[in-house]
């Protein structure tokens, strides 16, 4: 890494810190506590019901990041994500994954993997998207597959994540434990650089 890119990462770190700080301040609405005063009437009832069910079951293990019309976002620790996913499938009737996106947060030294769950079979959920986010530790000098950046795979719960998780593995270097096929998917076979969607990987000329 050159000094220039280091400078850039430092810059970004400060901004990311800001970002996370804002997020924390925005995060409140824990549907668990019926305390918040002004945001209470805005919360859509059905979505709040979903959030309440999750919080009721898992309590402290999950955080509700937002409740918007048709969208619920939750955040889960990496040890509990498997359990939570099983709960969403069996009890909440979400049956497939729309998308799996990896997001790099160098300031937190973490990589977030976001699952967007949706349902075909339950007509009440047809508008809904449940966002399950979980984070893996990030290493500055990654060796994809052989470092601490690991998460449990959800493939045994939602079969549809198979290719998505392979994509996240090569794009961000998150190894999915329990995934039977952690191979490269889109990048060339001889790719030897950093995983390209990490923030410290810069496109040429940028």
């Amino acid at each position: 890494m050159s000094s220039e890119s280091e400078k850039e990462t430092v810059e970004k770190k400060t901004e990311d810190a800001k970002l996370t700080a804002d997020k924390v301040s925005e995060k409140p609405t824990p549907a668990k506590k019926p305390a918040p005063t002004k945001e209470e009437p805005e919360l859509p009832a059905f979505e709040k019901g979903i959030a309440d069910k999750i919080v009721e079951k898992f309590g402290e293990k999950t955080t509700i990041t937002y409740v918007k019309p048709d969208r619920v976002g939750i955040k889960v620790g990496r040890d509990d994500v498997h359990e939570v996913a099983e709960f969403t499938r069996d009890v909440l009737n979400y049956d497939h994954v729309d998308s799996v996106s990896g997001v790099d947060y160098p300031a937190d030294k973490e990589i977030e993997v976001v699952y967007h769950l949706s349902s075909y079979t339950d007509p009440t959920l047809s508008r809904q998207i449940l966002e399950v986010a979980t984070r893996a530790p990030r290493e500055d000098d990654p060796i994809p597959g052989n470092d601490a950046t690991r998460l449990p795979s959800l493939r045994d719960i939602f079969y549809s994540v198979e290719f998505h998780e392979r994509e996240v593995f090569e794009m961000l270097g998150v190894y999915f434990e329990g995934h039977p096929d952690n191979r490269r998917l889109l990048l060339p076979e001889d790719w030897a650089d950093l995983p390209p969607l990490r923030k410290d990987f810069r496109n040429k000329g940028r």
């Binding site: 048709d70 729309d98 998308s99 079979t121 597959g145 079969y159 889109l186 076979e189 390209p196």
Partner: protein, 378 residues
Amino acid sequence: MSSPTLPPGLAIQKADERIMTLNVGPQHPGSGHMRIIVQIDGDYIVACDPDPGYVHRGEEKMAEYRNYVLNIPHLERPVIHDSCNILYPYVLGAEELLGLEVPERAKYIRVIASELNRCVYTQYWLAIYGIFLGHSTMFMWPAGDRELLIDLLEKMTGARVTHSYFVPGGIRNDLPANFEDVCLRQVNYFEKRIKEYADVFYENPILISRTEKTGILSREKAIGLGTTGSVLRASGVDYDVRKKEPYDVYDELDFETNVMKSGDSYARSRIPWLDMMESCRIIRDALQKMPKSGSVRVKLKPNPKGALGSVYKRVESGRGALGCYIISDKKPEPYRVKLSVPSFRNLIALPQLLIGEKLGNMPSVYWSLNYWPVEADR
């Protein structure tokens, strides 16, 4: 399938002397821009490993360097013949982050452009499907009729395929004078033409014998694999984002979704054709209900900054539900843009469908997935 260290070409191990490994693509008339590694036992496929990525251009990374408006041209390139639809979720998401309210007339024009584009996409897909099945007439007819709608889109947007028509806050320019009449006339003629495809293609006994009962995807599997669009609806799941989560003005328009139960290649090839007729209906309805005048775009500040937060929007494209996940951190450039594309989601069904199928059925099964490799690779 095997150990993760092997490169894709070697991943399938030789189990038996009888088994032969075939590379289909990337230079192959029946593969498009991708490679499918199949293992065959005699004439039957026993293993299949799709290898996409030949057109992976790093759109998602590029989107992190450009602001919300500059992202438009390159984000539509993955499916240039469906460019309005692939931009749709991105533009909807950007509008929510930038806090823009779209004028009513722009919403209707967007719907018209999006439906025209769906027809243009489906016609191209149908033409290639004809070629894949060795049916040259079915290449010529859709490829020729498609040009009618391209003419319309060219009048609207100024470009044949890469429109860049949707911008955050509305559309780029208003309709040209007299567009409604021309559009109605062309669309009516187009609908008459596509109805004729039934005789030459869909009721053709050769086509039926080649596609019926091949590559059957059961309802449970279609749901479990998370397939979308025509693949899902051909398996008997009535799910269309336009109906289930209407965006813009789709809730005011009159249309139906098409569902078939059999889940074979024939059903998958028929659903997009039926959808085109619904698109014609939507266009006519939208032309009627559209406000005749009014602004089509709200003014956008130069280099607008997105609000803090994330947004996940989805629309129904020519291939299925297309989602866009944008994370913004109060900067002109999005922090992360993720396109969840239907082709990529449908690709997972390919090994399931091909195993146990004859090699000769591979092109028909593969293309019936409504798969566009460039989009899947991004």
